[in-house]
């Protein structure tokens, strides 16, 4: 295993140290317990926004700390959700007197650890609400699974809820808008290669030279099925169609189209996927009103991509357009 790290055990800490040094104008990195807040701390009179989860998905979540998005991010070990004693102080540090919304990706570990953290923070007198992101259509949402995973759609939830908080919405309103994003966002991903978790040292799954995994999550876990590699057009279709179908997109609707890289795929290929996905949406007479293309919710150096569609209305579009100033998203 060759990685630009020293001891794998310190990978997350070493990376966060560099992150904090590079962006001292925007963020503050806390250690023991580990969490990241915006420089200057909570904004008084604004609902606070906290998210977190395992590391290895950078820039998610710490890259989205800043004006118009998150107040704090809590990175766990690689692909391992953070512990309650990290999350609780991050929640407290984000409270500007109007309560805090915790944005949680739907994984058993994240759910359980945030649950406890929320209780701890509430015990300290902070008003806390939670929203669960579960946009991955690769996973059947039924009684017989842990439910859909939260994947790239998380960026839309954090951006839009962040804008709602920034314009002064109260906790109930910010929570409601976050839930509206969750209800209207869906994603699906493909892996061309596995990734290597630093402390494991080998690939997260074994994939043949001409095979791809459709329906992967963002934790280096295998996908829903394996198939021969075809080309960008076919692969994009197998990601976009389930997403659009599940959303029940009707002709004439407006959407945000987000093509996300898994970390090791060149930007140029993401734009190819974007072009293909856009064409498929246009064939359905769906209008792509907003776009995002890049590596935002990654699986270390995995090669692959996911396609996310968010159904827009005037309010969600305006909140998406609202100014944001973080290390990874800025307009």
């Amino acid at each position: 295993m060759k990685k630009l790290l020293d001891d794998p055990v310190n990978a997350v800490a070493d990376s966060l140290e560099g992150f904090g040094l590079a962006h001292a104008d925007l963020v503050e990195v806390h250690t023991d317990p580990v969490y990241v807040t915006r420089a200057g701390g909570a904004v008084q009179g604004k609902v606070g926004l906290v998210s977190g989860g395992g590391s290895g998905h950078e820039p998610l979540h710490a890259g989205f700390v800043g004006d118009g998005m998150l107040d704090a991010a809590v990175p766990g070990a690689v692909f391992t959700s953070p512990t309650p004693d990290q999350v609780a102080p991050a929640i407290q540090a984000s409270d500007g007197g109007r309560g805090v919304l915790a944005i949680v990706k739907n994984y058993t570990g994240d759910v359980l650890n945030f649950e406890t953290a929320v209780e701890l923070a509430q015990a300290e007198g902070v008003e806390v609400a939670s929203v669960l992101v579960n946009d991955d259509v690769a996973v059947e949402d039924s009684l017989y699974t842990a439910g859909r995973r939260g994947v790239a759609g998380t960026v839309a939830v954090e951006k839009i809820a962040g804008a709602a908080a920034a314009r002064g919405d109260d906790l109930a309103a910010v929570t409601a808008v976050a839930e509206r994003v969750v209800a209207n966002v869906r994603s699906m991903g493909v892996a061309l290669t596995a990734c290597t978790v630093p402390h494991v040292g080998g690939p997260s799954f074994d994939l043949g030279d001409d095979e791809i995994e459709i329906g992967i999550g963002i934790h280096g876990e295998p996908g829903r099925h394996r198939q021969p590699f075809t080309g960008a057009t076919e692969i994009t279709r197998s990601l976009l169609e389930p997403v659009a179908d599940d959303l029940g997109l009707a002709p004439g609707e407006r959407v945000l189209l987000f093509v996300n890289g898994m970390g090791g795929t060149p930007l140029s290929e993401l734009y190819v996927v974007y072009g293909r996905a856009r064409r498929l949406l246009e064939e359905r007479d769906v209008q792509v009103a907003r776009s995002l293309v890049g590596n935002y919710v990654t699986s270390l150096e995995m090669q692959g991509a996911s396609v996310t569609v968010l159904r827009l209305d005037d309010e969600l579009e305006a909140l998406w357009d609202a100014p944001v100033r973080t290390t990874a998203l800025h307009w």
Binding site: T80, P82, T83, D85, T108, L112, V197, V200, E221, P222
Partner: protein
């Protein structure tokens, strides 16, 4: 041998040793059907527990030791297993506020632990989780205790049942936890959490069979 505070400390140290030895194996199991971190998570957690145990505090009840395990796992493991084991040991610690365990207290401890896991995780047997190790362990322990078995015999029954229970997860299709994302493809692999539960209970038995304390 009596299941006293010294035993519970030996249990923790043996568990740490066993989990470190199984680190790569557990991770490999998790790599097959999860995200490949379970070995690392358990290793990290129990290393932290041992460090905490060595803080010089004198403990007079088994429950005090188990509470250290609970809070340390909770704050150092993360993932799904952190809160699940954390809650399990927290409930177990409340059921063992005494200097020494008899057979029925061992059963009470295991029942409390299982209850902790199911309260948090909402899983029942057959879902390919650690419950498939805890539940048979509780059942077997209760049976032996009912028949008047001594505490070591109760523990032995629990450990053996947990081991068989873990192995029984192999053909199952997961419906809880990360492995459930794989659907049918999760069949054919042992659940890593069930295996680590079997290792934990095996360590409890080993600690009851000898006074030896593994070196850190």
């Amino acid at each position: 041998m009596t299941l006293d505070v010294a035993w519970s400390e030996r249990w923790v140290r043996r568990a740490a040793e066993a989990l470190t030895a199984a680190r790569a194996d557990l991770t490999e199991l998790d790599r097959q059907i999860g995200d490949g971190d379970h070995g690392e998570n358990m290793h990290r957690g129990f290393q932290a527990v041992v460090a905490k145990l060595d803080d010089g505090t004198e403990r007079t009840q088994v429950g005090e030791v188990l509470k250290v395990v609970a809070t340390t796992l909770m704050s150092s493991v993360g993932g799904a297993s952190g809160p699940l084991y954390g809650t399990a040991f927290l409930r177990a610690s409340k059921a063992t506020e005494r200097a020494e365990l008899d057979g029925s207290s061992v059963v009470a401890m295991l029942e409390a632990a299982l209850e902790g896991v199911t309260t948090r995780g909402k899983a029942t047997t057959g879902e390919k989780t650690m419950v498939d190790a805890w539940q048979p362990a509780v059942d077997a322990a209760a049976g032996v205790a009912q028949d008047g078995g001594d505490p070591v015999a109760v523990l032995r029954a629990a450990a053996e049942a947990a081991d068989t229970g873990a192995a029984s997860t192999i053909p199952l299709v997961a419906t809880k936890g990360r492995a459930s994302y794989l659907g049918e493809r999760s069949a054919g692999h042992e659940d890593p959490g069930a295996r680590s539960t079997a290792l934990l209970l095996g360590a409890a038995l080993a600690a009851a069979l000898t006074d030896e304390v593994p070196s850190a």
